[in-house]
Structure formats: structure tokens, C-alpha cells
């Protein structure tokens, strides 16, 4: 099947799924915030996905949810012992961790090596901190949502953040995506053209960090990997051309989130997990269609 036809079908299916999902939520008097939290979280990650692949930052992207896991635990400890918002502590601590990982890659440490060290450190420290929190504070529900995600329990702060970061990610990708993809395709010529590579890399690290860390409670750190990496992989299999693949990746994210939410509400299942499952089904379908 031609990629342009698949693209048109995807636009059509996505629009239909969004309309049905919203109609079902409103019709059954569920909070519409659920829809916005999951769809915008998914959109934020899906829009960055193509840039992650082209800039060869899969290892950083895979490390970032682990940074979010550790930061979320440390955020609880900091907010209880020092005061202030858990969410703000989590974002600040998480961003520091992501910048450390990004700096290692920027300075030439092999991405596989830096990701291995970083994931090992953040996972073990994260588990240690969360065990400490579980045994000393009454934060059981929060910790479950950090691990498996629950957009239905999101606070107003997180709902607003999801919408803002989702829109910001889409604007960011359409504003500087071409430059980042060009850097990924020909870094030497990008330097000769006068692009400040470090600035574009820093902006991408920042967007990856803000997305994964800020949305850890609504998506869950386990499924953030799926949301970040699968839409881009599907678009890379199906699409030809940068603009089309970015749009396709976003459409895949919106589609999986809206159908996922619909199914999860109907069958009382975990919304993030169902959306992640739909992404996997779309990935396998694309792979079979492309004969891979």
C-alpha cells in the first residue's frame, strides 16, 4: 500500500477515534480531563519520537524514564522533608539527571555505555528511594501511579502540565524539527552552515526531560519507553519524508491514546497500559505490512 494512502487513512481513523472517545466520555459523564491528560501526554512523547530516532538519542530517551523514576522518589522525600510541591521537586531533580546523561553523550561517551551506567544507577537508586518512602510515608497510591501510571488520578497541576507540554512539544517539533533532523543526517554540514549543534541538542534533551519527568505519574515510567519510542519506529517504517513522518508519529500517539482510553474505561483496565498495547499492535501491523 502506498505511504500517502496509509497517511490519509491514518488521519481519518484518528479523527474518528477522537470524536468517538470524546462522545463516549461526555455521554457517560466521565471527566473530559481524562481524555486531555492521556492524549496530550501521548502526543508530547509521540511528537519527539522521530527526532529521537534521527538524532540517534534512543539511549538517552530510554534512560530518561529511569531518571523520572528516581526523581519522583526523591521528589517525595524532598517535598516531605524540605517542603514545597512534589511535582516541582520531581521536575527539577529529574532535569538535572537528564542533563547529566545528555552531557555524557555530548562529551563523546558511547551512548550505549552511558545509558547502561545511567539506567543501572537510576533504577537501583530509584528502587532504594521508593522502598524508603513506602516504609516511612503513606504514599502507596502515588508510587503505584509512578510505576504503572494513572491519568485518571491526575491532579489539576498534572492535567494542566500535560496539555501545556503536549502543545509545546508539537510546536517545538514543527519549529525546529527540520534543523534537528538535518543535524542527524549531516552533522558536518550543519556545523559548516553555522548551526549551533549544542543548542539544538540541549533543547531536545530539555524537551525529552520535561516530557518524561513531568508526565511520569500520568503515564508511568514503565510505559514511557513505549510512548517515546514506538510512534517514531512506526512512522519510520511507514512514511517517506520528514514532515509526513512527524505528523504520522503524532497521529499514531493520538489514535492509541484515544482508543486506549475508550477501551480502558469500558473494561476497567489501566489506560496507559491499553494505549501502550495498541501502539505495540500498530507497530506489529506496520512491520508485517512492510514485510520486516
Amino acid at each position: 500500500m502506498k505511504s500517502s494512502l496509509i497517511f490519509r487513512i491514518m488521519i481519518f481513523i484518528t479523527i474518528i477515534s477522537v470524536i468517538i472517545s470524546i462522545a463516549y466520555i461526555i455521554g457517560n459523564s466521565y471527566p473530559i480531563e481524562w481524555f486531555f491528560t492521556l492524549v496530550m501526554s501521548s502526543t508530547a512523547m509521540g511528537s519527539l519520537s522521530i527526532l529521537i530516532y534521527t538524532r540517534r538519542l534512543r539511549y538517552l530517551a530510554a534512560s530518561s524514564p529511569h531518571a523520572a523514576f528516581l526523581a519522583a522518589g526523591l521528589g517525595i522525600v524532598a517535598s516531605v522533608s524540605i517542603g514545597g510541591s512534589w511535582f516541582l521537586w520531581t521536575v527539577v531533580i529529574g532535569m538535572v539527571l537528564v542533563y547529566v546523561a545528555g552531557y555524557m553523550i555530548y562529551k563523546g561517551v558511547d551512548p550505549e555505555d552511558s545509558a547502561s551506567i545511567f539506567v543501572a544507577f537510576s533504577s537501583s537508586m530509584g528502587a532504594l528511594v521508593l522502598y524508603y518512602v513506602l516504609t516511612r510515608y503513606s504514599y502507596g497510591v502515588s508510587i503505584v501511579s509512578i510505576v504503572i501510571g494513572d491519568p485518571l488520578l491526575s491532579s489539576t497541576e498534572i492535567i494542566a502540565y500535560s496539555v501545556v507540554i503536549g502543545l509545546l512539544a508539537v510546536i517545538y517539533v514543527y519549529a525546529v524539527g527540520r534543523e534537528i533532523i538535518y543535524i542527524g543526517s549531516d552533522i558536518d554540514d550543519a556545523r559548516l552552515a553555522g548551526l549551533k549543534i549544542w543548542l539544538y541538542d540541549l533543547s531536545l534533551y530539555t524537551m525529552i526531560g520535561l516530557t518524561t519527568i513531568g508526565l511520569v505519574k500520568s503515564v508511568g515510567f514503565v510505559l514511557e519507553h513505549v510512548y517515546l519510542l514506538i510512534p517514531g519506529a512506526i512512522a519510520a517504517m511507514v512514511c517517506r519524508g520528514v514532515a509526513r513522518s512527524i505528523t504520522f508519529s503524532i497521529l499514531v500517539s493520538i489514535l492509541s491514546a484515544s482508543i486506549g482510553l475508550l477501551i480502558s474505561i469500558s473494561l476497567d483496565l489501566a489506560p496507559s497500559a491499553v494505549s501502550g498495547g495498541i501502539l505495540i499492535i500498530l507497530f506489529l501491523a506496520s512491520a508485517i505490512m512492510k514485510g520486516r
Partner: protein, 257 residues
């Protein structure tokens, strides 16, 4: 020296030394190169051919020395060097997940050089590349191209800013024999109005178009006409026993592949 458009093409390298940690890639290079014309850069593996091209492009920071292009100091300044030169790396790497097409690569190369922000969209491929790449590959992804097509695409891309100097790092490496001959003609055409530096492990294909040969082995071993450089006593200084003369042909035993 100027071309038909009145553009100067002059590279001056003074006392250039480049090291990667403890390994010396180039040592005390002093050289003046003028164009237009085709210069082949020869030398064994690790002789510093790629490093020399990258240094001229401003992509490498030397330990000492400087590089002036057309009278401007462009040492370790790719932004300034990029206004005058085009550069194609040895075997450009493309992520297997990259969806960028040939048309987009050429358009984006043109687009990112515009200083206005936000940069305007670029839908039309700039003119003048049809002699190098066929129109039927414009909408293919880079990942769908053969090694030769990919190299031609990157060379077409390097011509986008209209450079007076072109640096090509082993452009013939990934090509089949028929493509090499076709491509030799293209390089010949490009070198009529530009100064073109080409690194190579096989000087014969481009020999009839070559104005000068630069023989390197961390230092400049020889710089002169093919007749002056391609002689046993000169080549042996760079290659040791790593070459054979068979009739009029020279075989360099220095496979990269």
C-alpha cells in the same frame, strides 16, 4: 588565482599539527594550494588525509598552526569556512530510522543557511544538481539509496551553497566500477571552476583530470604534478613497500574496505 567568476580559491596551511589524545594525525604541515583544479590527496591508512580535509573545513581544532582560506583565518571555525567550502565526509552515516528524502536533504541544506527566523519552507530543489543526481531519486529516502547514489546526493548537497572549494573524502570508495568512471567525469567538471581536493586510495581513476597530487604520511611527503609524485622513490617514502608498478599502473596496497 581566480576562476571564471572572479572568485579566488586559495588555501594556505601554516605549521599545522593535529593530535587525537596522544596520537599525532598531522605534524608541521606547511602548504599552499591554489585553484581551480583537481588535487588528489594520497597516503596510507592513518596518514592524516581525512584529518587534513576536516581541518581545512574548520571541523578540527589543531594543537598548533593555522589555516587561511582566501586570506581569512578559518582555523577551527566551520561557520566561516562553510561560506567558502563544501565538504563531504567519508561514507556519510544515515540512521536506518531516518525518513528524510533526497529532496528534503537538498532543500534543508539550502534552508538552514538562511539567517532569517523562522526559516521559510523550502519545497523546490535548488537548480544545478541535475548533472550529479537523477530526478527519479529525489523522492527516495536516503536509507533507500545505494552507496554510490548516497555519495552523489551528498556531493550535490555540498554544492548547494555554491562553494569555490570542494573537499571530498574518498568519494569513490562506495561506488561500483561503472559509477566510478561516471563520477570521475563529474569531478572533472566540478574542478574546472572550483578547487577540488579529493582523498583517494586509487589515484588512477582520476589521474587524467588531476592537476596535482599531495602525498601525505602525517607530514607532506610530496606535492606536485602526477608525473613528479607518482614515482617509486617518492611513493616509497609514504607507502614503504606497499605499492607495485605494473606497466603504467600503480597499485597501492592500502585497502580500507
Amino acid at each position: 588565482m581566480v576562476n571564471v567568476h572572479g572568485e579566488t580559491m586559495h588555501i594556505e596551511i601554516r605549521d599545522l599539527t593535529v593530535k587525537y589524545k596522544d596520537i599525532t594525525a598531522l605534524e608541521n604541515i606547511d602548504l599552499k594550494i591554489e585553484g581551480p583544479g583537481l588535487i588528489q590527496v594520497l597516503g596510507p591508512n592513518g596518514a592524516g588525509k581525512s584529518t587534513l580535509l576536516r581541518s581545512i573545513a574548520g571541523l578540527v581544532k589543531p594543537q598548533k598552526g593555522c589555516i587561511c582560506i582566501n586570506g581569512k583565518d578559518t582555523t577551527a571555525n566551520p561557520r566561516l569556512a562553510g561560506r567558502i567550502i563544501g565538504y563531504v565526509a567519508q561514507r556519510p552515516e544515515v540512521s536506518k530510522y531516518s525518513t528524510i528524502t533526497v529532496r528534503e536533504l537538498l532543500c534543508y541544506s539550502h534552508m538552514i543557511r538562511r539567517q532569517k527566523w523562522p526559516r521559510p519552507p523550502c519545497r523546490e530543489v535548488p537548480r544545478g544538481i541535475d548533472a550529479i543526481i537523477h530526478e527519479d531519486i529525489l523522492d527516495r529516502r536516503l536509507t533507500e539509496l545505494s552507496g554510490g547514489q548516497l555519495m552523489k546526493t551528498y556531493i550535490a548537497r555540498s554544492l548547494m551553497p555554491g562553494p569555490g572549494i570542494l573537499l571530498l573524502d574518498e568519494p569513490l570508495g562506495p561506488m561500483d566500477p561503472a559509477s566510478k568512471l561516471e563520477f570521475a567525469d563529474i569531478i572533472s567538471m566540478l574542478s574546472k571552476e572550483r578547487l577540488v581536493l579529493v582523498t583517494s586510495h586509487d589515484p588512477i581513476i582520476l589521474l587524467e583530470y588531476t592537476d596535482k597530487i599531495l602525498l601525505l604520511n602525517k607530514k607532506v611527503i610530496a606535492y606536485g604534478s602526477p608525473r613528479e609524485v607518482l614515482r617509486e622513490e617518492v611513493l616509497s617514502k609514504a607507502y614503504g613497500r606497499g605499492f607495485r608498478e605494473v606497466g603504467y599502473h600503480i597499485h597501492l596496497f592500502d585497502s580500507h574496505y
